[in-house]
Structure formats: structure tokens, C-alpha cells
């Protein structure tokens, strides 16, 4: 009955098979809902030439910024990368390539990747630099771009609670890109706050069914806050 016990005991096991020049999809929005321990493990492994698909690229010294420090990232596919001085530096020096994708298009490209849809049409980006090189097509009198699906060799996903089947739920807005990332990795690794017994999660409330998940590791999270704003700061 070991087939569905996806829990691994070490970060090394969790990312076993990750090698240079692979594509890694990372859940998270800014520093919210990121697989902190898995990112740190990639840094320890020193894997280079990575294409990283993530809405953002962390900040200097935290999150995916850690991988920039060691120049492990060759290319980022993101919607917003403005929080990181090291990013800017590597981009300007030509060490780093970036493919900017509108946030909703990025989310949908990942969903499509997981759902076996190779391409779809969206009005987002028509008439903008994002449209360059893409097929434009009219439906019902409006123009749309054809956008392609994204899949990755690995997906690193941060969840709140998971069972050994890999069924999981996300906490509050730490959900963000994680459910799509989970579906789009050839190997999907879940780093979770808490492991629960099968049956504890209500079947209809599970965000990501275990079928998408290959490995589960219980992590420890710092959960750094990017912009702490209090109700007293503004009326």
C-alpha cells in the first residue's frame, strides 16, 4: 500500500532528479505562498541554467532571489519582476533573460499546460508589445492573441495542509498560482505546513487533488511579509 504514500523525508529526496537546464514552475505571489524550503534546496543543489516560471522572482536574499544570488536562473517567465535589484543587474548584464507575460495569461497558460490544452485565445495584450510574434485572430468582431501552454519538469508548490495522497488545501491568498503550478509539473513537489490523515480534508474542499502531486514534504516557513500595512497607517 505504498503507492499513494507520497511523503518524503528530506529535501534532497523531494527534488531528486532536478538537473541543469530544466524548467521549474514555482507557485506564489511575491513572497506569499512560496515553497521556501524547496527553493533553498535548489540553491544548495547549485543547479544552473534553470528556466523558472513564477509570477515574481522574490526579493534580494529571499524566495527566488536566492537563486539569482548564485546565478542559477537562465530565464524567467513572469508578469512582474520589479522587487529585486539583483534581477535588474543580471538582466542588464545579459546573464538573465526574461519573458514578460500578463499575469492572467500566465495563470491560464499554466492551467492549460496542466489541462492538456496546447493553446488558447485571449484579448489580453492585443495591440501591445506582448502581441509580437503571436497569431492574432478575430472572433465575433474582436481580436485575440493565441497563447501557448506552459509545462515544467518540476513544479514547486506551497500548501497549507496535505495528506499522504497529496490532496491539499491552501491558506487564504497563499493559494494564488499554486494550484495551476501543481497541475503543470511533470514532477510536482508539495511543501506543506501540516500533514494530515487521509479523510481529514473535506473531499469537496480540496483545492488540489492528489493526482497532480508526486511528492510531499513537511516544511518550516518563515513567511516573510513584503509590505506590512496596518489599518492605522491610513484611514
Amino acid at each position: 500500500m505504498a503507492g499513494f504514500n507520497k511523503v518524503v523525508g528530506s529535501y534532497a529526496e523531494a527534488l531528486d532528479g532536478l538537473s541543469d537546464n530544466m524548467t521549474v514552475i514555482s507557485g506564489g505571489f511575491g513572497l506569499c505562498g512560496i515553497a521556501e524550503g524547496l527553493i533553498a534546496q535548489i540553491q544548495r543543489m547549485g543547479t544552473t541554467g534553470l528556466t523558472v516560471v513564477s509570477n515574481n522572482c522574490g526579493v534580494d536574499g529571499f524566495g527566488l532571489g536566492l537563486l539569482l544570488e548564485k546565478k542559477q536562473i537562465k530565464k524567467m517567465i513572469s508578469s512582474y519582476v520589479g522587487e529585486n535589484a539583483l534581477f535588474e543587474q543580471q538582466l542588464l548584464s545579459g546573464e538573465l533573460e526574461v519573458e514578460l507575460t500578463p499575469q492572467g495569461t500566465l495563470a491560464e497558460r499554466l492551467r492549460a499546460g496542466g489541462a492538456g490544452i496546447p493553446a488558447f485565445f485571449t484579448a489580453t495584450g492585443v495591440g501591445t508589445p506582448v502581441a509580437e510574434g503571436k497569431e492574432v485572430r478575430e472572433f465575433s468582431g474582436r481580436q485575440y492573441l493565441m497563447e501557448r501552454a506552459i509545462t515544467g519538469d518540476f513544479a514547486i508548490v506551497k500548501a497549507w495542509k496535505a495528506d499522504r495522497y497529496g490532496n491539499c488545501i491552501y491558506r487564504h491568498t497563499a493559494q494564488n498560482f499554486n494550484p495551476m503550478a501543481a497541475t503543470a509539473g511533470k514532477i510536482t513537489v508539495l511543501e506543506v505546513e501540516e500533514l494530515v490523515e487521509p479523510g481529514e480534508l473535506e473531499p469537496s474542499s480540496i483545492h488540489t487533488p492528489g493526482i497532480y502531486v508526486n511528492r510531499v514534504i513537511v516544511g518550516k516557513f518563515e513567511k516573510r511579509i513584503e509590505r506590512k500595512v496596518l489599518s492605522t497607517a491610513k484611514v
Binding site: 505571489f29 511575491g30 513572497l31 506569499c32 505562498g33 509570477n55 513572469s78 508578469s79 512582474y80 519582476v81 520589479g82 535588474e88 538582466l91 542588464l92 526574461v98 514578460l100 500578463p102 499575469q103 492572467g104 495569461t105 500566465l106 495563470a107 491560464e108 499554466l110 492551467r111 485571449t122 484579448a123 489580453t124 495584450g125 492585443v126 495591440g127 501591445t128 508589445p129 506582448v130 497549507w160 491558506r171 487564504h172 491568498t173 497563499a174 493559494q175 494564488n176 498560482f177 499554486n178 494550484p179 495551476m180 483545492h207 513567511k223 516573510r224 511579509i225 513584503e226 509590505r227 506590512k228 500595512v229 496596518l230 489599518s231 492605522t232 497607517a233 491610513k234 484611514v235
Partner: protein, 218 residues
């Protein structure tokens, strides 16, 4: 006199209506949430996956797992729902958000908007702005009428790379409220004490002005 940030935000809030689902961009648009009229209920959508954004948290409410699209700590209002980024943009792209208010560098008479990229400066990315202008039912831009050098930001044709084409319906600036239609800006209101002449002089794109343009109520 030109409106200050709070006054612009107040004028923006006059576009809200009871039962509206609204996405507010960073800056002045977000500030408008403070001026929702009493006896009116609107629901704020934050594109990172929150419908029903509440006020900023108290120190004890702060939660790293509860942020808005500006990556600021927030709370969830009663009746909120939380979902994935794909679901959030399905909502936006599918035209379910009633109103989006966002800032811009330039807007033109064709309803085009440029708001994300200044060539020569570092490109930070468009985030969700392109999806928002392509998807929302009604889009309002709020910005200063001219840049700090006095150059008009309401043009015949945007000069910067675009965020979206033919999508802006209304512009609320520190000087005026304008509608964009039929290849021209139409002056609807002027800031208290600001002359029609000043607005004309600071609007580079074609501007239609009718007699007796009313003053904004802010």
C-alpha cells in the same frame, strides 16, 4: 485649482455604485476605497485571488498569507471569497468585474492606454494590468492631466508601448473628468476653479468642449 490626491480619489469614488464589483489599481485608485459613500456596498476584487477585500489589518490581524495584489497585508470582508490566480483572471477576462480603476502614463483619443513601460528605463512587467484593461466592463483611468514638465498625458496617439487598445471609457485627472469616445476626449467636468481654457491648453489630443462645463463636486 488642481485637485490633490484625496480629492481625485473622492471623485473616483463617485463612479462607484451599490452592488458593484470593482478592481482598484495601486495608488490613487486604492485610496478611493476610503470614500465609498455610506449606504453603498461595493466589493473589491484583488487580482491575486481575493473578492471582498477588507481594510488593512490591525497589528494582531496581520497575516502573511493574506495580502492584496500590491503585496500589502489586508483583511477579508464578510462575504469574501478566495481563489486561485486562474480563477481570478477568469473573472476579470470574462467581463465579470464591473469597474476597473487604474493609473496610466498616457491615454489617447482612441481609448488606448500606456501604463507599464518606459523604454530606456528598466522594464518591471505589466502584472495584471493588461488583463484588467482587456477584461473589465468599464475602465476608468485616473492620473494627473500633465506630467511634471507640463506635458499633456492626454494625447492623439500614445507614444509609449501600450497596455491595451480602445479600452478606456473615462479619465479622471486633477483638472477634469473626460469621456473617451468617437476619436476624441469629451470634457464632462472641470476641477473647481479650473478654467476650460487651462484644460484645453493641457490636452494634446482632440478635445470636445460644450458650453457650461460643470464643476466637479468633491
Amino acid at each position: 485649482m488642481a485637485l490633490n490626491r484625496e480629492q481625485i480619489a473622492k471623485r473616483v469614488a463617485q463612479e462607484f455604485y451599490d452592488g458593484a464589483y470593482i478592481n482598484l489599481g495601486i495608488g490613487i485608485p486604492t485610496l478611493a476605497a476610503n470614500y465609498v459613500p455610506k449606504n453603498m456596498e461595493v466589493m473589491l476584487q484583488s487580482e491575486n485571488g481575493l473578492l471582498g477585500m477588507g481594510p488593512y489589518p490591525t497589528e494582531t490581524q496581520v497575516d502573511a498569507d493574506m495580502i492584496n495584489a500590491g503585496k500589502e497585508t489586508v483583511t477579508a470582508a464578510t462575504g469574501a471569497s478566495i481563489f486561485s490566480s486562474a480563477e481570478s483572471f477568469a473573472m476579470i477576462r470574462g467581463g465579470h468585474v464591473d469597474l476597473t480603476v487604474l493609473g496610466a502614463f498616457e491615454v489617447d483619443i482612441h481609448g488606448n492606454i500606456a501604463s507599464w513601460m518606459i523604454p530606456g528605463k528598466l522594464i518591471k512587467g505589466m502584472g495584471g494590468a493588461m488583463d484588467l484593461v482587456a477584461g473589465a466592463r468599464n475602465i476608468i483611468v485616473t492620473m494627473t492631466h500633465a506630467d511634471k514638465h507640463g506635458n499633456s498625458k492626454l494625447l492623439s496617439d500614445c507614444t509609449l508601448p501600450l497596455t491595451g487598445v480602445n479600452c478606456i471609457n473615462k479619465i479622471i485627472t486633477d483638472l477634469a473628468v473626460l469621456e473617451v469616445k468617437e476619436g476624441a476626449f469629451h470634457l464632462l467636468e472641470r476641477a473647481p476653479g479650473v478654467s476650460t481654457e487651462e484644460i484645453i491648453s493641457k490636452t494634446a489630443g482632440k478635445l470636445i468642449v460644450t458650453a457650461n462645463v460643470p464643476e466637479m463636486q468633491v
